[in-house]
Assembly symmetry: C2
Homo-oligomer: 420 residues x 2
């Protein structure tokens, strides 16, 4: 009855004798930035394999992903090898992205080889090409700012005439964090963009400059079988065209505006057949503004789309039952989606954009002492002016205090000399 002395033998023995580990589903991700990096905790918890195509061996994600082959998103061979695996590594169950910069023909090859691509190339085009996006949103009746394609400078002149002499000119492709976007009052301000477009550069479009009250974002996830789950509508605050602060949920949100925002985002998700996380950035406009089709009463206008985890959803890592990163993995694997309920009354996320120090971890003693509840996320990136290097989220009951604390903690991480 009594077991022998061996039942007290070192516990390591079974591990040493262990048979090969059976592995779960493998998600292949194109792009080695912080968005792929922040997918790792959820992949680890759910026992998923995460295989990330990184631009170089020291990128943000490469530092923390075991299976991180090096290659460029436009390299068909690299992307195909990412999903195929080899003798050591199993074939991926799905291919997804942490940015939009993957050519459609590369995705078509992956799909032809039998690995699902989520979001699909047909959906992703709307996050890659702003003209395709505006056309499609207009078709499905999603409220947008007034807009026009700009085949030439004359088209911009006409658009300026029709819109009070001011317009937002964008490159259809290649824009990012305020790049490829310019507010102009004259065609001469984008003359080199027209020249570039004439020799194969990105096409241009104009959008009416919207007199918005504030910017909102709706984050949701949709799985191939159609289930959608949405996080609360948030307010985003931009600085120089880059997301700086996110307030979750958006304070003092008019229920009609909230409903309009959720409706627009859901229609985008379904109308464009998006799978994975979708971020819809919107302008909240005052009173009874006029939508693109002339309809009265549109209170939100869609500004931008992203079909991947998005900066407006970083707060979910610390302030929601299911983070956007876990949800993206669940969605692209067609798993039932997670609960999106916030775990705190308010969450405020503040980006760390550039820094006054070279090594951000040097800030840890000070920021940890300043605010024991501040959740600090560093991306392992080299410091450059304005670059997204990390973020801080603070959760709590009082919005003003939470916001102040998040900003103070982010300032400490940056090493701002103005911070006392």
């Amino acid at each position: 009855m009594a077991a022998g002395y061996l039942d007290t033998a070192p516990v390591l023995l079974p591990t040493l004798l262990g048979s090969p580990v059976v592995t779960g589903p493998v998600v292949a991700v194109v792009g080695g930035g912080q968005l792929a990096r922040m997918m790792t905790p959820a992949a680890t918890a759910l026992g998923l394999g995460l295989r990330v195509l990184v631009e170089n061996p020291t990128t943000s994600a490469a530092q923390v992903v075991v299976d991180a082959p090096v290659g460029l998103p436009k390299d068909r061979g690299a992307v195909q090898a990412l999903v195929e695996g080899d003798g050591e590594r199993p074939r991926a169950d799905v291919l997804t992205f942490e940015h939009e910069h993957v050519p459609g023909e590369v995705l078509a090859e992956v799909l032809a080889s039998g690995v699902p691509v989520r979001p699909s190339a047909a959906a992703l085009i709307h996050a890659q090409d702003k003209i395709a996006m505006r056309r499609r949103l207009t078709e499905i009746g999603v409220p947008c700012p007034d807009w026009a394609e700009l085949p030439d400078a004359a088209a911009l002149s006409r658009f300026l005439e029709d819109h009070g002499g001011e317009a937002v000119v964008k490159t259809a492709r290649g824009g990012y964090d305020g790049k490829g976007v310019r507010v102009v009052r004259s065609t001469s301000e984008v003359v080199e963009w027209f020249a570039a477009a004439g020799i194969g550069g990105p096409a241009l479009l104009a959008e009416a400059k919207v007199p918005f009250v504030r910017e909102l974002a709706v984050l949701l996830a949709r799985r191939p079988s159609g289930e959608i789950r949405t996080w609360p509508v948030v307010e985003t605050v931009q600085a120089d065209g880059v997301c700086s602060v996110v307030l979750a949920p958006a304070p003092d949100l008019d229920p009609a505006v909230e409903a309009a925002a959720l409706d627009a985002a859901t229609r985008v998700a379904e109308g464009l057949d998006v799978t994975g996380v979708l971020a819809v950035e919107l302008f909240e406009v005052a009173g009874r503004s006029v939508g693109p089709a002339g309809e009265a009463g549109a209170r939100v206008l869609v500004n931008e789309l992203a079909m991947r985890p998005h900066n407006s959803g970083h707060w979910t890592l610390d302030g929601a039952v299911t983070s956007q990163f876990e949800q993206h993995l669940r969605a692209v694997l067609d798993l039932p989606l997670g609960d999106t309920t916030p775990t705190a009354r308010w969450s405020v996320m503040a980006n760390v954009l550039g820094a006054e120090r070279r090594e951000l971890t040097e800030a840890l003693p000070e920021v940890a002492a300043l605010d024991p509840a501040a959740k600090v996320h560093l991306y392992g990136k080299d410091v450059r002016p304005g670059r997204k290097l990390g973020h801080v989220t603070v959760c709590g009951e009082d919005l003003g205090a939470v916001r102040e604390r998040a900003l103070a903690a982010a300032a400490v991480v940056r090493g701002d000399s103005t911070h006392g």
Copy 2:
């Protein structure tokens, strides 16, 4: 004034030209099980390097840690190489553990080489050797079950006589999850343990079998500079000597018992000079029981200690502002500790002990559909009967419902055929 077309150039360019990434502090960890695995999200968020000595290249932690050299904890060369690094990898800033099975002489060498060891070998001995632990706790007046060293069978006979014919006999070293522990009424039941002790096997001790009301655990962290932060006292439920369920906080906890538990744990942390996370498992006893020194009124008795993240603290990953894994990293680096406030009224963690299926990720569709708010953590381990393969945490307002949901989700992960 207007920037050129290049300001819309591919965003990958800066990454490709990036200079080498400056790295933050490096924490070296001995042991490649799930406790090291679950340190990865916090290390990633804080930008810390995590270097883990794994027993083989497919262990739980090896699957998700980029820097995971293979070696055994008792191998001086392997442990020394872990902290020293090489041309590619910087020297570690601190050495810590995910289990207690590291010989003191190995740790002494690391310390002599200038790398701090936290907890220190002098503290860790109390988590390695139950006789050393009982001696020290008795010295500093921490309430324990009555106990005695057992140099021979006669000593056990005397102990049985003095304690109603029943005793818990333990091996001083090598015990784990109910192994090395036996409830006996006769010396014959552990005769082979005495024989083993006589030829160099672990020494033995006897403890009075405590008629406890329930088991509690206090989890705290202490940093070298002395700061201590404690999570709420939890109730632990054991099955066959293994932690099965944790209720956080412990329901209906008498404030006097709570105070006694916190006091005992704090005295252990300070008296043994523990750094890092400390788990103190206690028996809650009814009414006015008698402590080891004969003092009346002791309502808790210390059962076991662990100086590392512990199963009783897994709920903190999903139910507290700062998880035990983040806190352990902060503590061993002597960073200010994080807020330990729960983020939900109740958190219940249920272990997945063994399984009826070979590949646990196959349960993800069913468990995700059953409970969208269940937080599933799989450890990437081969299935064996009774083995800790994962856990599920559910948070919420109603304890009964939360407990039921956690158990149901864990049963689905296990693949219990009884589950409907």
